[in-house]
Amino acid sequence: MIDKYAVFVPNLTNRAENFTSGHRACQGCAEALAVRHVLKALGHDIVISNATGCMEIVSSPLPLTAWNVPWIHVTFENAGAVASGVAAGLKVLMRKGKIPEKRIVSVGMGGDGATTDIGLQALSGALERMHKDFLYVCFDNEAYMNTGIQRSSSTPYGAATTTSPAGKDSIGQHTWKKNMAAIAVAHDIPYVATACSSYPFDLQAKVIKAVESGGPAYLHVLSVCPTGWRIPSHLAIKYGRLAVETGVFPLYEVQDGKYRMTADIPKLRPVRDYLSGQGRFRHLTDTDIDIIQKRVTKEYDKLISLHKSNNG
């Protein structure tokens, strides 16, 4: 309901803009929006280790910066490792009394390439070591958008990218999207959640929960990319909602191993609603869409049954 009364919204969230306007993201970028919401929820006592990617490039062309919080850019594959080092460094300085004792969250940030491909090893190490006050956020726009839309292991089945071109002999991306949240859950960490910038309150609530869980926590944020998905730039929010409403990207959280669905969707919309308007899926035939629908329904049912078994 409150969504309808825009005037109240600023009162419900942190007013500080720690990811400021003037950065160079494309028009309609939902990833920049996601970063903004995550930072609103995180507050000032954080250190961000940001892997190479869209958000790093658009936000830090020297001598300019969009970040109002401590921030370091690190190699593509090492956001998890550097964030681990930051957490360890802060811990030892507090233990030795060199800096005052307080909660400073070490935040690793990366895109889907930096998280699900090249940075998976470092992230897995960080989650396995159970760093306290450690949060990793993956901003998933489903391809290497920064370098010109190359496929990643997070690119959904059937999507055309420049290195998974669609044509007579190729459907485009021919493997299913890697289930990164499930990989994080397999590390037995206190908090894992999926989120989307089309659901800002849900996103911010999950960030706060992630921090309160003590860490390590993992957040997988679907970030609609109009440029790479080939959609009009004013429709990013709509496609984020469609991804959730069709079950393509279900919103859920896993707290201490317990699954809970967080979006209220009485009945899923057909995936066609989500796929049809996107240029990257325009080549899909009815048969292809049926295959995707079956897979989405199957995966969604799995989550529902986990939710039911965990919540009576």
Binding site: T75, G113, I118, L120, T147, G148, Q150, T162, S164, G167
Partner: protein
């Protein structure tokens, strides 16, 4: 110039891809990084048409090691990246050299260190020519200065890699990778390749083979290192390439490679128009370095003008080549700056007059 119907206008990165396919490359493994993305993109479409395999790996480390795997299976294989990605590949390149496996590695270099930028730079010279990875090894390094040369050298690189069982690197930059020029692939003269009697492809009805670079016994390791060193001496003798331009009566020799050499050539032409006796020596192989010709020129040349798009890397090889026989002036523009021929000519002219060569 006679008209060649087989000439096609192509972008540098795509030229490398097409040349590789013309040379029989069937496997390509890559990972996104600017400014070489058109190469994997081209390969993702084109390799399917010739029945090859394109895989976009999950990291540069995987890409180079997939290449190692394909190479040990006997396939002609290529991988490409740009500076930071090539840094990640170094362990794999060292293993290729240690296992004596052929592979072609393309570096469309950019400004550094760190993430640097995506502008053309020549700051990976040390990394490419000094091995880059660990251990006593060398990779042959080609430095093309045009799209046509990109085609010719890429095709030759596959043969050279197979003949010597050694990694070969193509070192260009974003400028050459991004620019479009007419190219023909007719210049390729395939070499005779020794039979690949080392590949791993199952061991039914024959003794199994082992490929490795772990040699714990230091005496054996030393012997292996000397064996590699002998191979590198042969490469130095047979594969050194360079171009001389207007060097016959030159008093000043400009030394530059790749993109810088193209700029330098323009500067040399302008200086010649002004009546100055200036020439250009352009190393085409950076390792092996054309030291001999540079040393020989010291007898007639008064000044060696080294121009690089770096803070000074190849200049050290020039210094070694000259053995103190002649003076060197260095002009460098690191960080992705591409100077104009006019700018370089102005500096050449100043040096020319200051040295009293007029």
């Amino acid at each position: 110039m006679t008209k060649n119907k087989n000439k096609k206008l192509m972008r540098g990165n795509a030229v490398v891809g097409e040349a590789a396919i013309k040379a029989g490359c069937t496997c390509y493994f890559g990972y996104p990084i600017t400014p070489q993305n058109q190469l994997p993109e081209y390969m993702s479409r084109r390799l399917v048409e010739v029945g090859g395999v394109f895989i976009q790996s999950e990291s540069e480390i995987s890409a180079i090691n997939m290449a190692l795997g394909a190479s040990v299976a006997g396939a002609r294989v290529m991988t490409s990246s740009s500076s930071p990605g090539i840094s990640l590949k170094q362990e794999g390149i060292s293993f290729l050299a240690g296992c004596e496996l052929p592979c072609v590695i393309v570096n469309m270099a950019r400004g550094g260190p760190g993430l640097g930028n995506i502008s053309p730079a020549q700051s990976d010279y040390f990394q490419a020519t000094r091995g880059g990875g660990h251990g006593d090894y060398r990779s042959l390094v080609y430095a093309p200065a045009s799209c046509q040369e990109l085609a010719d050298l890429t095709m030759e690189a596959f043969d050279v890699a197979d003949v010597y069982r050694n990694p070969v690197m193509i070192l260009a930059d974003g400028m050459i990778g991004q620019m479009m020029e007419p190219v023909t692939y007719d210049n390729y003269k395939p070499r005779e390749i020794p039979p690949k009697d080392y590949i791993l492809d199952g061991a039914k009805d024959r003794p199994s083979r082992i490929i490795k670079s772990l040699i714990l016994n230091p005496h054996e390791m030393e012997e292996f290192n000397w064996k590699l060193a002998r191979k590198y001496r042969i490469i130095e003798k047979n594969e050194t390439k360079y171009e001389e331009f207007m060097m016959d009566d030159a008093k000043v020799a400009v030394i530059a490679y790749g993109t810088a050499a193209r700029i330098a050539k323009g500067a040399v032409k302008r200086a010649r128009n002004d009546g100055m006796r200036v020439g250009l020596i352009r190393p085409i192989t950076l390792w092996p370095f054309p030291s001999e010709i540079i040393y020989r020129r010291a007898a007639s040349v008064g000044l060696f003008f080294v121009f690089e798009m770096s803070a000074g890397q190849m200049v050290e090889d020039v210094r070694l080549a000259l053995k103190g026989e002649s003076e060197i002036y260095f002009y460098g523009r690191p960080g992705g700056i591409v100077p104009t021929p006019v700018e370089v000519q102005r500096l050449i002219t100043r040096q020319y007059y200051q040295k009293g060569l007029i």
